[in-house]
Symmetry: C2
Subunit: 349 residues, 2 copies
DNA sequence: GGAAGCTTTGCACACGTGTGCAAAGCTTGC
DNA sequence: GCAAGCTTTGCACACGTGTGCAAAGCTTCC
């Protein structure tokens, strides 16, 4: 009894100096070596049933949790995956992050989220910060990291996966939706609806996907001998969609409009309706993304869909693809898109 | 030249066995001790200008990044903050995560995101996992952790901050919007609009905020001698809002409805309009949250707003509040809400 | 030039874990 | 009971950093 009491006091003193219970604390209570504790918590390691039980009881009593930081020190890598994104409230981004973070967790990886909303000097500092955590991979959903920082990641055996942006000769994996194909589908659908006075709505953002979609659409429409009216200013918001409607529909008599994102399209729809345009009778509208709100009864937007689960699946595959020494097999994947017909485009003419 | 060549080969061999450049590698190239490298990268530590320069050049040449995991081992704590959330695509949650992750980053903390979408056995396993990363604090946006795991966090000096949920006698900080006050405001607004046949739309979720809002609203309406028609099934989605409209408006001749979230309200609006109800002429509708979509021209939802920046600010304040030994000063904060008048409720009668 | 005071430096240890390996212990078969 | 083979164990080291402290170095003043 007296020995036991001294024993407990000793434990309390150790806890006071450090926040977390250590394997040493557990070993003492269980009456085994610290090594036995380690082996008990290491899958596949050799430990007798008796020792295992005593260790587990002691660990439970003390509330012991393995220190993943210390573990990662040994392997020189954590199971953290850095995820860089901005505009996380936007429906498309939010859904991407939702699905990616869940998929990572299900694969035993943890999501270290870096919000790039205020990364005015580019995302290089964020990536440098992420590297300090010895992440396994970095998924870039927003921003375009320069080659130099990507090369540094690769030198440290950290995969960089760019989502919906190009790599510019750097050794990054890229997973892109077929923006060109989607723009073509949208162009053809408007032409098939009989539209001849056509507009395209982008934003002021130099986001590669948006620029690609806009330019490809304009090109396809020009192949039909039609010159598109272009809106390309403002932020990528619903409000910009409204402004675009006010701006384009005041100076043009349009009968068909392609918006490079659904959010722009929903704003455009509301703006057009406020100006008395009937959709799709007077004006057809197509978006791109297929965010949840596009299916809402007040909108029923016809849009080009990029499959979120394909995207997430490809990101995971890229993360888990083995790196063979210094020679990296890069992934450059273009995901198919498809037209989702709802109510904002006239039937074929 | 020969010595230099041997020196480079030696570096290459070291890099081949480990992924990341270490302080040892830098020290060798700079011709100083490893301790000098450490001091160069430790703010406030003593190091001569010459040594600092040589170390920085060597670090730049080799692409050295401090290992935060090793650093955290010394301090027994990382600057990681665990954030537990589910339904991250929902407008309100997405916005909360967007603002919180940015605020954390601006305060030198990193967001370890755990998606609780598939946490069927509760979020205890997720919190246990987070503890292994020696986080500084845990912010719970979804799920209600039992007292036991909260107590364990506190025993390890890890703050637990519950957002929009109660603590049930556990030592967690809580930050809650004034659901009761908001429900009262909504009830009074409908009554002032002359509504006498009143409904309330919740969901099947046992989410504390939703249950609180619904019950408080029903109570306030009963104080006016009116019995509310209640909908409380399905998930917390736009689609459930539509179902609620179909269900309630078929069996009740309502002139006023309070939906416990904006998303439910937007679905309810679309459902009611599809059934030929004019809003606000035939039927007034109030939501709660003030998500971005509520301001869209197709909806212009009158709603009760909870301020996201107040919420984020309070979470940060709670994280940064000092813990004094074992006696924790808990935060229990109730954030004010306010009515946002738009177009879905009749003027005062 | 020497003494006093200040700055800088490298050594050796800490932090908490996993693991190679020799030693100890256990089990099985003769 | 002993030998052979297998399992388990604890020691000591590794991983990559920060830091206390004694020693070395530098600067200033008389």
């Amino acid at each position: 009894m007296v020995a036991s009491s001294d024993h407990e006091d000793h434990l309390k003193r150790d806890r006071a100096t450090r926040n977390f219970v250590t394997a040493e604390d557990v070993a003492r209570l269980a009456g085994v070596s610290r090594s036995a504790v380690s082996r008990t918590f290491t899958p596949g390691a050799s430990v007798s049933a008796d020792v295992r039980h005593r260790v587990q009881e002691a660990a439970k009593t003390l509330g012991y949790r393995v220190n993943r930081l210390a573990r990662s020190l040994i392997s020189d890598q954590s199971n953290l995956v850095g995820v860089v994104g901005a505009n996380l409230s936007l429906p498309f981004m939010a859904r991407q992050l939702d699905e990616l973070s869940l998929a990572l967790l299900n694969r035993g990886m943890q999501c270290l989220l870096l919000n790039a909303a205020e990364a005015e000097q580019g995302i290089t500092p964020l990536i440098e910060l992420i590297l300090e955590f010895r992440v396994r991979a970095i998924v870039v959903m927003s921003g375009s990291p320069p080659s130099a920082i990507i090369d540094e990641c690769v030198a440290n055996s950290v995969r960089v996966i760019l989502v919906n942006r190009q790599a510019d000769d750097a050794e990054a994996d890229t997973i892109i939706s077929d923006d060109l194909g989607g723009a073509r589908v949208a162009a053809e659908r408007l032409l098939r609806a009989g539209c001849r006075r056509i507009g395209v709505v982008g934003s002021g953002a130099r986001t590669p996907t948006q620029v690609r979609r806009r330019l490809a659409f304009v090109e396809h429409i020009e192949e039909a001998g039609i010159k598109s009216a272009v809106w390309a200013s403002g932020e990528t918001t619903y409000e910009t969609g409204i402004e675009a409607a006010k701006g384009l529909l005041t100076s043009h008599e349009l009968d068909g409009v392609f918006c490079v994102t659904d959010l722009l399209a929903l704003g455009f729809l509301d703006g057009a309706r406020e100006m008395g345009r009937r959709v799709p009778e007077d004006l057809s509208v197509i978006g791109f993304d297929d965010i949840p709100q596009s299916a809402w009864a007040s909108y029923r937007l016809t849009t080009v869909r990029q499959s979120m689960s394909d995207l997430t699946g490809s990101v995971l595959a890229a993360i888990e693809r083995e790196m063979h020494g210094k020679e990296t097999k890069l992934v450059h994947e273009v995901l198919p898109v498809e037209l989702v017909e709802r109510a904002t485009v006239r039937p074929m003419s």
